[in-house]
Amino acid sequence: MTAPAIIAILVFVEIPFLMSVMYSFTRWNGLDKVPKWIGLANYRELLTADRDLVLAVVFTLIFTVITVVVTNVLALLLAVILDSDIWGKNVLRAAFYIPNIISLIIVGYVWRFIFSRGFDSFSALTHIGLFQLSWLGDGKLAFLSVVLVSVWQSIGFYMVIYIAGLQTVPREQLEAAVIDGAGAVGRFFRITLPLIMPSITVCVFYSLSNALKTFDVIFSLTFGGPGTATTSIALDIYRTAFSDNRFGYGTAKSVILFLLILTVTVFQLTGFKRREVET
C-alpha cells in the first residue's frame, strides 16, 4: 500500500534532488550524454565570480526580511480586528482573503496594469506625486513594488491562520486579566501573544520559506528588472539553467538555495518553538 507513494516521491523529488547535488559538481549543458566532472569549480565560481548571484542573494534576503515582518504584523493586526465582534466580519475576512485565491502570475500582471495605466489616471486625477513615479522602471521603487504586491497577495492566508490561533485563547484568562485591571494592550502582549506563539511559528515559517523561494510574482511583474534589481535566487536559477543552458552550474545554485532555506527555517523553528508556552 505504501509502494506507489514511495515510488512517486523517489522518482519526482528525492532522486532528482540527489542528482542535482551530483550534477552540481559537473559541467552540463543539458544536451551532453555524460556531464563532465569538474569538482568544486561551480561552487568556486558562484562564491567568487558571480555578481548576478550575489545581487540575487542580497535582493532575496532584504526582500524576505521586509515581507516577513510586514506580512505578519499586518496579518496579525487584521486577525485581531476581525476576531473581535465587529459588524460584517465574515464579509471582511472574505475580502482580505480574495487576493490569495488568485495565482501569483495573474496578481503580478494585474498590478503591472495598476502601476502603469492605473497610476497614470490616478496622477491625472489627484496630482499626487507618488503616482507619477516610475514604480516598475526604477530599481529601488521596483523593489518596493514587488514587496507591496507580495504582501497584498499573501496577507489573507496568514490572517486566517492567526484568526484560528486567536480562537484558541481561553476567554476566562482574558476576563481574569480584565478583573486584575489589565488594559487592552497589556492583555494582548502579555496573554494573547504568548498563547498564539504556535500560530506565529507557523506563519513566520511559511512566510520565510515562501519569500526565500519567491518566483512567480516577479516573473510576471518585473521579470527581475529593471536590470537585475528584482531578480530573486529562484529566478536567477531559472535563467542560469533554462536561458543560459548552464544546467550543471544551475544545480550548484539550487543546492545553495536549498541550504539557505534549510538553515534559515531550522534556526527559526527551534528559536520560535522555545518561546511557545502551554495554556
Binding site: M1, T2, A5, I6, A8, I9, V11, F12, V13, E14, I15, F17, M19, S20, Y23, I81, S84, D85, I86, W87, G88, V91, L92, A94, A95, F96, I98, I101, I102, S103, L104, I105, I106, Y109, V110, W111, F113, R117, G118, S121, F122, A124, W152, F157, V160, S199, V202, S209, L212, F215, F219, S220, I237, Y238, A241, F247, S254, V255, L257, I261
Partner: protein, 275 residues
C-alpha cells in the same frame, strides 16, 4: 441588539480599507468592460455602455474552453492521485510500528523541507526521460510526487484518531487489507481528505512554474495560468482583452472558493498548522 461601541467604531474604517484593498481587482472588472480608447483615456471612469465584447474576444483568442479543460484535467487527476497514494500510505505507515516503517515515513515526509526550485532542473530531465513532458497526464503524474509528502503527513496524523478495532472488525469479517481500507477506513478519513483536496486543488489550479517547465513545448496542452501569461505577453498593450482574460482566468477559482469557503479555510489552516 446592543453592540460594543469600539467594534462598531471600527466597522466603517475596516470596510473602507477593504474597499481600497480590493480596488485593483475592482479596476480589473471595470476595465474589462471598456473599449481600448476608454482605458487609454481614463482607467478609473466607468464604462459608457455595457458590452461583453472583450470577454467573447478574449474567450476565443485564448481558446478558453480548451485551457479550462486542460487545467481541470490536471487538477482532478493530480489531486485524486495525491489523495489515493497518500491516504493508503499514510494509513499503512500509521498502523505498522516497526523501525522499518518509521524510516519509510521519514523518507516520505522529508521532501516537505526540499524547495521545488532546488531540484526542478533535474526534474525536467527526469520527466523528459520518462516521456512525461508536454502532456496533461505527465504533468498530473509529476504532481503526485510533489503533493504526496505533505498530504501523507496529514493522513498519518489523522489515522491515529481512528480506533484500530475497526480494522480488526473488517479483517474478522474477511476483508482483505485493501478492501478493508477503502470500505471501512477511507470514509472515516473524510475530514482530512477534504483538507487534502482543497490544498492540492488550489495549488495545482494556480501553479505556474511546473507547467511552464513541463508543457512549454505543447500549445494544445497549456494550462490556464500558463496560457494567460503567454496571452498577456502577446496582447501587452491591448489592455481591454487582457483584463477580460484576467477575469476569465480567475473566475473558476473564485467560484470554487465561495462555493466551498468553509472547507477551504479549514483545509488551509489544517494543512499549514499540521506541517
Amino acid at each position: 441588539m446592543k453592540r460594543p461601541h469600539a467594534a462598531l467604531f471600527l466597522t466603517i474604517p475596516m470596510f473602507l480599507i477593504a474597499a481600497v484593498y480590493l480596488y485593483p481587482l475592482i479596476l480589473v472588472v471595470i476595465n474589462s468592460l471598456k473599449t481600448f480608447a476608454e482605458i487609454m483615456a481614463n482607467v478609473v471612469a466607468l464604462p459608457t455602455h455595457l458590452s461583453l465584447e472583450n470577454f467573447s474576444n478574449a474567450f476565443v483568442l485564448m481558446k478558453y474552453p480548451n485551457l479550462f479543460f486542460n487545467t481541470l484535467l490536471v487538477t482532478v487527476l493530480g489531486t485524486s492521485g495525491v489523495v489515493l497514494l497518500s491516504a493508503m500510505a499514510g494509513y499503512k505507515l500509521s498502523r505498522t510500528k516497526t523501525r522499518y516503517s518509521w524510516f519509510v515515513f521519514l523518507l516520505c515526509v522529508a521532501p516537505i523541507m526540499i524547495p521545488f526550485q532546488s531540484f526542478m532542473i533535474v526534474l525536467v530531465k527526469v520527466a523528459k526521460t520518462l516521456h512525461l513532458t508536454n502532456t496533461t497526464y505527465g504533468l498530473s503524474i509529476i504532481y503526485w510526487g510533489l503533493g504526496v509528502p505533505l498530504s501523507l503527513f496529514m493522513y498519518h496524523g489523522f489515522v491515529k484518531t481512528v480506533p484500530k478495532d475497526l480494522d480488526d472488525c473488517a479483517f474478522i469479517d474477511g476483508c482483505r487489507p485493501l478492501r478493508a481500507f477503502f470500505q471501512v477506513i477511507f470514509p472515516l478519513l473524510k475530514p482530512v481528505t477534504v483538507s487534502v483536496v482543497v490544498i492540492n486543488a488550489m495549488w495545482m489550479w494556480n501553479d505556474f512554474l511546473l507547467p511552464l517547465l513541463i508543457l512549454s513545448g505543447a500549445k494544445q496542452y497549456l494550462t490556464l495560468q500558463l496560457a494567460a501569461y503567454n496571452f498577456f505577453g502577446q496582447y501587452k498593450v491591448e489592455w481591454h482583452f487582457a483584463m477580460a482574460g484576467v477575469l476569465l482566468t480567475i473566475t473558476p477559482a473564485i467560484i470554487f472558493y465561495f462555493a466551498l469557503q468553509k472547507h477551504i479555510i479549514k483545509g488551509m489552516v489544517a494543512g499549514a498548522v499540521k506541517a
